[in-house]
């Protein structure tokens, strides 16, 4: 039997052996002391502000229009926070990236599809990013209630854990993958631009009637 993926959900029809393996994996995750990735958000914000400041100053100095100034600004914010979201698993960064993407769509209507394509790529990245797995392991170790099967398995297992086989070294890439995480990440990243696109369409439609 292959090792259960501790980051996924336990199948409802899992056998007792699978449930036990799952619980063991979860326990190993927990006892190996995972910590969520700590992205220095203050530094990220400062760097973004500095880059935006320089970009704005340069473009304004070259007599560009406000739209020309804002477009790259939004793009920088979208990419920066999108990466933080994807690699650092910081939820609020997804919110910021989505908002920046919405700004892009408002300024340039025809970028909706490319923006959505970018959201798909980032979401796929979230699907395999170790940062997300670490946050989930940390969550699993701190606040998630165990299912009845896990309770039984935990109760029956000895507490000794072979730390030399810690999950961080041995778990293969496919074990990081979570399809539901990809869908959720895509929704968070794409909601703002979709909302902006819909609003623009709706306004155009109602005023054109």
């Amino acid at each position: 039997m292959t090792a259960a993926n501790p980051l996924s959900e336990l199948r409802p029809d899992a056998s007792p052996a699978e449930a036990e393996s799952f619980a063991e994996s979860r326990m190993r995750l927990a006892t190996s002391g995972p910590t969520p990735p700590r992205v220095p958000m203050r530094r990220v914000l400062l760097i973004c502000a500095a880059v935006l400041g320089v970009e704005t100053a340069v473009l304004l100095a070259t007599d560009r229009s406000l739209q020309d100034v804002l477009l790259p600004g939004y793009l920088i914010l979208m990419v920066a926070f999108g990466l933080v979201f994807c690699l650092g698993a910081v939820t609020v960064a997804g919110f910021a990236a989505g908002a920046a993407a919405a700004g892009l769509v408002v300024l340039q209507h025809d970028v909706l599809l490319p923006v959505l394509a970018g959201a798909v790529l980032l979401a796929l990245g979230c699907g395999v990013a170790p940062g997300w797995a670490r946050v989930e392991a940390w969550q699993a170790a701190h606040s998630r209630s165990l299912t009845a099967e896990e309770e039984v398995a935990v109760g029956q297992r000895a507490l000794s854990v072979d730390r030399s086989r810690g999950w961080s070294r041995g778990v293969r890439l496919r074990n990081y993958w979570r399809g539901d995480r990809v869908v959720a990440a895509f929704l968070v990243l794409s909601f703002h631009p979709l909302m902006a696109g819909f609003s623009l369409w709706f306004i155009g439609w109602t005023s054109g009637r």
């Binding site: 919110f95 507490l159 539901d180 869908v183 968070v188």
Partner: protein, 666 residues
């Protein structure tokens, strides 16, 4: 002495002494918790050690006229009561009191002061006898205190008066102005009305979005770490009281026993008060049939109106002996380390911290669509909104359960308002208004999500009605509120607590405007300017967008990604809120104190037949796996799983009396 009597073996005494050293609980509490002696045996020994007679008190033996001179709250706290006046050997009157603690000069002084009779004879009785007599003889006083104490002491803070005259006058003035305005200039009146509603809705939605976004930014911050919990010494832990109000929930009393048995806290320092209503014999029968361990005390709350949960909690607070008090519902499954985390949070939080709120979430999230939506909503509220309120230092409306209090400060605040049907939210705001602070702690209690629409609407209409009551109470003196909590906090309170019902009430009208505008473009223009129609539509669109987005984020804190797509259905879920809000508004006017009962125990996750017998010991530790190794010392796991660890209460008056040394000798 117990060893001499053969009630305790030498080995048991040695083990009890070791436990006594470890947890710092009186030896009597330890041997009771171990089940090695009966309460009667213990008190017989204590009476002998203290050199006093032992009496088992029958409530009918208490002189009611004498009883009236002593307040029930004081007697409940100090666990003694006056019995009768008799003549001593010289024919002089003396007062007989029964105490569950060591006879003391303090009791004698109190009796002399209240009766003027200088002779006092103190006999020893059990704490249970004291409490039973209190519940019987002081019944009317207990009910009166539970129902009317706040309304009498601080009428301005009680919802017993729904509307005060200035509010009624203001409401009448607004209605008259609208009618007159409509007659004189309908378009302008409509413009003002619709614009005002739009501004209010936009502010309410915006505030919620801002607060929740702040909370999102702090999603991995732990208020209390596992290391801090592990560093706690059992000997330093105070007595903790758990209040569990139950009404017509006979089926889940056994489950409650199992859930609370999982708690990682010394049994000797735990007190569980099961608060049952007098007119609910089925639940009482079920509770007795479940044979709860001695740690659980069943308190039958005398019948009175309004029949609300806060009234029962106030009665429970009177009998609570813990330094800290927490409320759980019968079906709650708190994290095993929640009490310890709360202790750490209180110790770190400063003297003004009156309450620590744990997060609530649902164990039956995937049961149906409604439970999924409910879980998303709760996740957003408890994981992000409350965290945001905490970070921004705004008043926190408490959630229904898992709010941990400093008992003395809670009593000073006047307890819960029995007339407010969201007494928890009201208490959080009242605490802030009185200069106290409420904080959140990173621990979760798992509850049963409401899975039936009718049941959900009943519950939600009560919550919304309670929010309305809370706003009405705390805006009676707006300037006083601003002075006491500050303008930013007042605005946060008004927009979050007041804005929420307003948002629900306004939503159907905004939808109606949208439908009319879509079906008959421009038909509203004679009455409303086009820009306002557009703003209203944009407001509705944006508001729904915000609600959906907050729900999208809600699944991330607990990594329940499977729920996230359901966030797209939030607008429909929020329309249910609108239905509930109109029901709430109607009830606020015609039946303000009516407590819409929520039926619990409907989920397949809480089928009682799955509950193990208490005699089999606590269930396997349900806490996350890490708790087994990193949060709890291993001996705690063993202790929790040990059938002999079925909790038994501490003897009431022993732990806080000087009699401990004598008891140890016993």
């Amino acid at each position: 002495m117990l060893v001499e009597q053969g009630a305790l073996t030498e080995e048991q005494l040695a083990a009890a002494l070791e436990q006594h050293e470890r947890v710092g609980a009186p030896l009597g509490a330890v041997v009771l918790a171990k089940g090695w002696v009966t309460r009667r045996e213990l008190y017989v020994a204590l009476a002998e050690v203290w050199g006093a007679d032992l009496a088992f008190v029958d409530p009918v033996d208490v002189d009611e006229e004498l009883a009236r001179r002593f307040p029930a709250a004081m007697l409940a706290r100090e666990t003694w009561l006056p019995l009768r006046i008799e003549e001593d050997g010289d024919g002089r009157p003396q007062v007989v009191v029964a105490t569950a603690g060591r006879p003391s000069a303090h009791i004698a002084e109190e009796v002399v002061q209240r009766t003027g009779i200088p002779r006092v004879r103190q006999v020893v009785t059990t704490d249970w006898d004291v409490q039973r007599a209190l519940r019987t003889v002081w019944r009317d006083e207990l009910v009166h205190d539970a129902v009317s104490a706040l309304a009498e002491r601080r009428p301005d803070e009680s919802a017993s008066t729904v509307f005060v005259w200035p509010q009624i006058a203001a409401a009448i003035a607004v209605v008259v102005a609208l009618v007159v305005g409509a007659v004189l200039d309908l378009p302008t009146t409509l413009l003002v009305l619709v614009a005002t509603v739009n501004v209010a809705v936009a502010l309410a939605v915006g505030t919620k979005a801002l607060i929740s976004t702040v909370g999102t930014a702090w999603e991995t911050v732990e208020q209390v770490s596992d290391e801090e919990v592990a560093a706690l010494d059992d000997a330093d832990l105070p007595i903790y009281t758990i209040l569990v109000p139950v009404y017509k929930e006979a089926g889940i009393v056994g489950l409650l026993m199992r859930n609370l048995a999982d708690l990682d806290y010394p049994r000797e320092k735990l007190e569980i008060l099961l608060l049952l209503e007098e007119d609910d014999p089925e639940t009482l029968t079920a509770a007795l049939a479940a044979a709860p361990p001695d740690i659980v005390r069943i308190i039958v709350v005398p019948h009175s109106l309004p029949k609300t949960k806060p009234r029962a909690c106030n009665v429970g607070l009177t009998f609570a002996r813990g330094e800290y008090v927490v409320i759980y519902d019968a079906e709650d499954r708190p994290d095993a380390d929640q009490l310890k985390k709360s202790i750490v949070a209180f110790r770190k939080g400063g003297d003004d911290l009156v309450c620590v709120q744990a997060a609530l979430n649902y164990f039956n999230a995937k049961e149906n669509l409604l439970t999924r939506m409910f879980t998303l909503e709760y996740s957003s509220w408890f994981d992000y909104t409350l965290a945001g309120l905490d970070k921004l230092r705004l008043p926190i409306p408490l959630g229904g359960t898992s709010n941990h209090f400093r008992a003395d400060m809670l009593r000073d605040l006047g307890g819960w308002d029995p007339y407010n049907v969201t007494e928890d939210a009201d208490l959080g705001i009242r605490a802030s208004a009185r200069g106290h602070r409420v904080a959140v702690v990173n621990s979760t209690t798992y509850e049963e999500a409401n899975m039936a629409v009718g049941n959900w609407i009943r519950q939600r209409s009560r919550w919304i009605k309670g929010y309305m009551q809370t706003v009405l109470v705390h805006t009676r003196h707006p300037w006083r509120l601003i002075r006491s909590v500050g303008p930013r906090q007042t605005a946060g309170f008004a927009l979050l607590i007041g804005g929420t019902p307003l948002m629900f009430l306004a939503t159907p009208w905004l939808y109606a405007m949208m439908v009319v505008e879509l079906l008959w473009p421009g038909v509203m223009v004679p009455a409303l300017p086009q820009w306002l129609v557009d703003v209203s539509l944009a407001n509705l669109l944006l508001g729904n967008g915000v609600i959906i987005y907050l729900s999208l984020l809600a699944g991330f804190k607990r990594r329940t990604y499977g729920l996230v797509p359901f966030a797209l259905l939030s607008p429909f879920y929020w329309l249910l809120h609108s239905i509930a809000s109109y029901k709430a508004l109607w009830q606020l006017i015609v039946n303000p104190f009516y407590w819409e009962k929520t039926n619990h125990g409907l989920s397949s996750h809480v089928q009682v037949e799955d509950v193990p017998e208490l005699a089999d010991g606590p269930a396997p530790v349900r806490a996350a796996a890490s708790h087994v190794e990193t949060v709890q010392p291993r001996r705690d796991v063993v202790r929790l799983m040990d059938p002999s660890a079925v909790p038994v209460p501490p003897p009431a008056a022993v732990e806080d009396t000087p009699g401990q040394i004598e008891e140890d000798r016993a």
